[in-house]
Each structure stands twice: as structure tokens, then as C-alpha cells.
Point group: C2
Chain length 407, copies 2
């Protein structure tokens, strides 16, 4: 029989990898929870139209999409904001505001697999619905930053800008086709920009994109335009979040409207961006009542890659007890001991292959057991077992009825 | 704009629903871990061929399947055993045995949505690879039972049989097309069975399927055939698991080979089965070295339905702190207080909509806050805040630097 492999660009995860992923996931969930965000989940399949409405027809090309047996045009979701907003419009519009939602799940894209870029990848993200106060948006940005820190990353950079300023500048310069210009900015495509703009437009835009403090920005678009950005930076200081002003964030999407931000892990090189988000407009497009919306998505796989680069050993500590009978007659007593320890909440491995004691100890060691409970005939008659410490090698007799407490 | 709905047969989950699902999931994971099982994950998409190899071409009809842009015939996985075994064959064959794996994830089927039957549904399951000792299989069965108990279900029934006895009986009766007979037994299709069998075959089979104790079984197939079943029942007693002998379990699949078992939640009526598993043979079919394999899958959605039927309120307890400033000047101090409490691990909601104090208290109540921290100008000047207990209505002044401990 020929082996069947996993589909190209997808991954399987071993128990060691899953322990690592679950540890990081739990740390990040903890932050979302502390900020009062509640988890939601939506299906992995959606109507293709949901994503073309948000991102245009071009998205079809890089999406897994198909017609189901009833002719519905379905997609494996390429991202999670549109599904979350669809859910909001269908079912959550009447909830008290602000509504604070988070999600974690697999997304899919059909493009060339590369290092750190998979066809099945995991996104974690938050959406804040129903408030656009500067403290609301600042809290959201702070949440993204704290989640990344909780994952264990230390060397990260948060950059923040205000897309409405770029829009104001492009209007002022009389630039047409602004969303195409935004895309070129996002791609850092200077040649493309020069081809679209005249010399004066191009020079002014380049100066603007190079601004790294509020005074420079104000000198180009006017003091009165920079009020919101100033407030944001001020609030982020209250939330104790280090931030860099970056006027060149364009996010390549038409639907962002105001404050935008990105977080990088510089250790990842060219693919360093691990988070992106901001204020956007999507709900009315999906048929809902206009409402303020902002959110961000974290690339979970890239965060793990960055942790690996940083040499973080985030495997959860293991503390496993191995229970080995010395003879066939002791197999049942050993099973009772294992059950007793498990009922007490311990992680227990019982010899299920009828190994000799020597092989059992070897296997216990390979599995990372810290203690081996040896169930022997003589001790059992006295109502006791031997407990071996795998690190020190020491053995001591322990009464069975004292067992959970004594290990 | 027209609303776009979720695809037929799929579900969205609200924060309250997700809290419930995560609570049950965590309880069941805890059991898997205590038994020494390690989590794996595989992609939601697989080559369609993986499932036709296991289950035959008929499975295509009820599977979401499509050709990707490179012409690969892919499927949204309808179940998780075949993917786990594919992973094992590809990457885990050299791991020490027994290999104990568990998984939890969404599966997909294209059939008519009904109550408790969705097109996207969640399975949790375990695979035990590399041992077929009776204590090994009994531990696996015990694990399934304990996982269901840990989920919170009390009224459940575990039934266990040995398919090799049915095979022995059918051989003995000279019955052809045994896998078709198995399927009819699984569907309880008595008419179908009578059409396929002669009178004597039919009568004998009916008597066999009605056996509910070992003596009856032994009288039909001979004492020497029932040894493994006897050992299993004996071991399940050691593991303290109540079990009923059931010779009528056929599992409708060709690939089960020996011990099989099912767990029902009778409260669910016709769709009462919440777990099924047993010893099976799949690895050689996928190109791997022959190895003993057994496992089970739990229907996570049905378990939740059964909990609901049983009236279990499994929503995790919430303990949220709401922080409300009394004036605009106090917004920044309030944000600092929220940050301080979150850094201490508390779940904190900060007023982000600039509500009046009355409205803030209303919102805090709706969100289920147990405490409201009121940040007022006078108290702040003294380095303090007011803490209101939402249950008793009592308020007291607390120094800010004593805050996390005092709530």
C-alpha cells in the first residue's frame, strides 16, 4: 500500500509540540480574559461571498474554495474578522456595548508554502465593538501588546499610526486612486508609487512616511489633524505600553479607517510582523447597523517561531508517575494503584506491555517520569509499595493508603 | 446590503457557550493527561483517498470534498482516527510503545442537519498504539468512561462486546457477506437480516445478539472462545468501571477486529450514543508496519447536549471587577487601577464608553461584575478608591497600593 501524506503546506503536531502550543495559547487567553474579552467561535467554512465583500474578488485566488453538493460557493476561512462580524450582525447586535470578543482558530490560504507560511495556520484575535473612545482603542492596543508579552516574547516593537492622516495628505495632494496607493505603500513599492504620482506628490508623500514624531507630522498636515494620534500616544503611556509612531503603516486593506498598529518580532527577519490591527469599517457592508469597530489579529504560528528563535524553552513541566508491577500477580494491584493516583489528579502511566522491571524503568525514564511506583509481592502483602525517585535513584517503602500524599 | 448567513448546518458560539464548552473540554483533557495520553493535532483537510481507503467510496457522498487549484482531491475530515493513523505512519512509528495519543477538533459531514447533528461537529478521542494486553484495552475503556464522567455526566451506560465472537458465529453458520450483515446488525435492520439469512441462521443470530451474560455467550460459541471477553470484564472491575456485556455491538465498520464498546447517555433518546471505539486494524492499509491499535471517539456536541438535558449548569464561575471613574479627570487614574489589577491576574472591565456612574453600575451588573472600583477625585487625592460589593451593595475605601489584595 502506498503511503498517503498530509496535504501540501499543512502540518501535524506531536505531543511535545502541542504542549508548547497549548502553553502559549493558555498564557494569551489569560490576558484576553483579564481584559474582559469573551471567546467566540465560528465555523471553518463560510460563504465565499463573505470574504469577497470584505477584500474583493482577488481573494478567491488565494483561498481554498469549492462548491458544495448543493451548489453553495464555500471557502475555508482565510481570516477571522469577517466571520466574527458576520456573527455579530446575525446574532449579537443587541448585546450591551462595548462588546469585547476574542477568538482562536485555524485559517487557510492557498499560496506557495514557505518557511513560517503554511496553508493551515492559526490566528488569535480580538474585536472591540461599540466604542471609539481613545481609551477604548488604547486598551485594545495594550491588550495586543500584553498578549504577545504573555506568550513569552520580550524583543518586540509596537508601531502605531493614523490612516486618516494619510488620507488627509493624499486628498490635499490631489491624489486619485488612493486605495491603490495604500497598497503600494504597504508593499513598500517605491517604483510603483513614483509611476503613479508626480514629483511633488511623491516627494511630499515620502517625507510624510518618514515622520517618526508628532511634531514632524503636525508640520505636514497641521496641528489640528493630529489630535487623535496625540491622545492615543498619551493613553498608551497610561496603559504603560511602549510605542513608536509610524506613519508608513498602510495595512494594504481598504477597510481600515483610523488608528492602525502593528507588532513586530525583529528576530524573524523579513517575516517579522506578528500582529496587525486597528479601527475598521465592515459591519454596514454585511448588512448591520453602523457601529464603531476595531480589532487585531495575532499570527500564532509566527509567535511560536519567534519564541523558538529567542531560544525560549516553553515546554510545560512534566511530572509523571510510572506504575510497574514486579510480577504478573501484581498487575491488578498495580492497576488499582494507578487508578487511586489518577483519582487524586496525578498524571500516571501504567505498564501495559508487561515489560520486565528493567525495561519498565527504561521506558519510564524515556517518558520523563519523575517517580516510579514499584508494586512488589512482599510489600503489597504489607499494604505497601516501593517509590523510586528517578532523579536521585533513591527508593523508599510507602503505605498504599498514604500514597497520593506521599508522592 | 443583504446579510450573509453562516453555512447551513454550522454554528456560531457565543461567549457563554464557549465558556461552557471550554470548561467541559478542560475537564476531559485533564483525564486524558492523568492517563498519560499526549495531545496531537492534524490538519482539517486531508486527501480524500485517506477516508475512502478506510471506509470505502460511499463515504465521498457524505463528505465535504473538492479539488484544490492544483487538482488534489481534498476532504474536510469526517473523523479523526484515519488522520491520526496517517500521522503515526508518516512520523511516529519509531516512538516507544505503547504510544498514547489524544486529539480534539472539528470534523465535517455533508448530510441533512437535524437536532444534535451538525455539519461541523467536534470529536475528542484517544488512540492506543502498540499493545493489545487486556489491561491495556481495559485502561482505554476506563479512560473513555472516566472522561465522560469528568464532563459531568452521571447517567451513562457502558456496553462492551467482542466482534471476533460474532465473526466466529457467522463463520460457524456459514454466513457469506459478513460485513454487509454487520452493517445490518448495527442499523438494527431485522428485515434486512431476514432477507439475507435462512431461518436457522437468522434464529441463531438473534439468540446470540440477545446474550447479556458470559454464560449465555459461552453456550453459543463455546467456553474457549470467550476467554478474552472474560479477561476484559475482569480488568474493568479492577479499574472500577461498571460495564454491561452487549453482543449486538457491530459498529457498522469493517475495520474493527476484537473488543468494541459504546457509551450511551439514555437521556438523549434515539441519538443517545456519545462514544464508540474498540480494537481496529488500519495501519497496514496506510502503508505502516502492522501494530496493535485501539481507540475511541467521543461526540463532544452530544455530550454537551446530554449535560443540557441533565440540567447541568456548567458555566464557569465569573468574578469580574468593573472599574469606573466618576469624572473625565479620573479616566486616566481608572486606567492605571485597571492595569494594576490585570497585572495581578484579575479579570477587569474598564469603562470605555464614558458612561455616567449610574449607567456604569448598570452595565457592571449586566456583565456579572462582583465588585466595582469607583475612582473618585477626593479619594484619589488621598491615594484611595471606593470598592463596591455588587451583592451586598456595601462600599468601602481602599488604599490604591493595597488594592489587588483587598479585593
Amino acid at each position: 500500500m502506498a503511503e498517503i501524506g498530509k496535504p501540501r503546506g499543512t502540518r501535524d503536531f506531536t505531543p511535545a509540540e502541542m504542549r508548547q502550543r497549548r502553553t502559549v495559547e493558555a498564557a494569551m487567553r489569560g490576558v484576553f480574559k483579564r481584559y474582559g474579552y469573551g471567546e467566540i467561535a465560528t465555523p471553518a467554512i463560510e460563504h465565499m461571498e463573505l470574504f469577497t465583500m470584505k477584500s474583493g474578488e482577488a481573494v478567491i485566488e488565494e483561498t481554498y474554495e469549492f462548491h458544495d453538493k448543493s451548489g453553495r460557493h464555500l471557502a475555508l476561512r482565510p481570516e477571522l474578522t469577517a466571520p466574527a462580524m458576520r456573527f455579530y450582525v446575525e446574532q449579537l447586535q443587541m448585546e450591551p456595548k462595548p462588546l469585547k470578543l476574542y477568538y482562536y482558530g485555524p485559517c487557510y490560504r492557498y499560496d506557495r508554502p514557505q518557511a513560517g507560511r503554511y496553508r493551515e495556520f492559526w490566528q488569535m484575535g480580538c474585536e472591540l465593538i461599540g466604542t471609539d473612545t481613545p481609551e477604548g482603542i488604547a486598551e485594545l492596543v495594550s491588550l495586543a501588546y500584553q498578549a504577545v508579552r504573555a506568550a513569552g516574547l520580550r524583543d518586540v516593537e509596537l508601531r502605531l499610526g493614523d490612516l486618516s492622516l494619510l488620507g488627509f495628505l493624499l486628498d490635499d495632494l490631489g491624489v486619485q486612486q488612493q486605495s491603490q496607493v495604500m497598497r503600494l505603500i504597504d508593499k513598500r513599492d517605491d517604483e510603483g508609487l513614483e509611476a503613479m504620482l508626480d514629483q511633488q506628490q511623491s516627494d511630499t508623500l515620502r517625507s510624510f512616511l518618514a515622520c517618526r514624531d508628532l511634531a514632524d507630522v503636525a508640520s505636514m498636515v497641521g496641528e489640528e489633524q493630529t489630535g487623535r494620534l496625540r491622545e492615543m500616544l498619551d493613553w498608551l503611556d497610561v496603559f504603560d505600553v511602549p510605542v513608536t509612531l509610524d506613519t508608513s503603516i498602510a495595512r494594504g486593506l481598504d477597510y481600515y479607517t483610523g488608528i492602525v498598529f502593528e507588532i513586530d518580532a525583529p528576530a524573524l527577519g523579513a517575516e517579522k510582523q506578528i500582529c496587525g490591527g486597528g479601527e475598521y469599517r465592515l459591519v454596514p457592508l454585511l448588512g448591520g447597523q453602523p457601529v464603531a469597530t476595531a480589532g487585531f489579529a495575532l499570527g500564532f504560528d509566527r509567535i511560536l517561531l519567534a519564541l523558538e528563535e529567542a531560544g525560549k524553552d516553553i515546554e510545560a513541566e512534566r511530572c509523571m508517575i510510572y506504575v510497574a508491577p514486579v510480577s504478573d500477580a501484581m498487575r491488578r494491584p498495580a492497576a488499582r494503584v494507578a487508578t487511586q493516583l489518577r483519582n487524586d489528579g496525578r498524571q500516571v502511566e501504567l505498564d501495559l506491555k508487561r515489560r520486565s522491571m528493567g525495561k519498565s524503568l527504561q521506558h519510564a525514564d524515556r517518558r520523563g517520569a519523575t517517580r516510579v511506583v514499584i508494586v512488589g509481592d512482599d510489600e503489597w502483602e504489607r499494604g505497601a509499595v516501593m517509590v523510586k525517585d528517578m532523579e536521585s535513584g533513591e527508593q523508599r517503602e510507602v503505605a498504599v493508603d498514604k500514597l497520593p500524599g506521599a508522592i
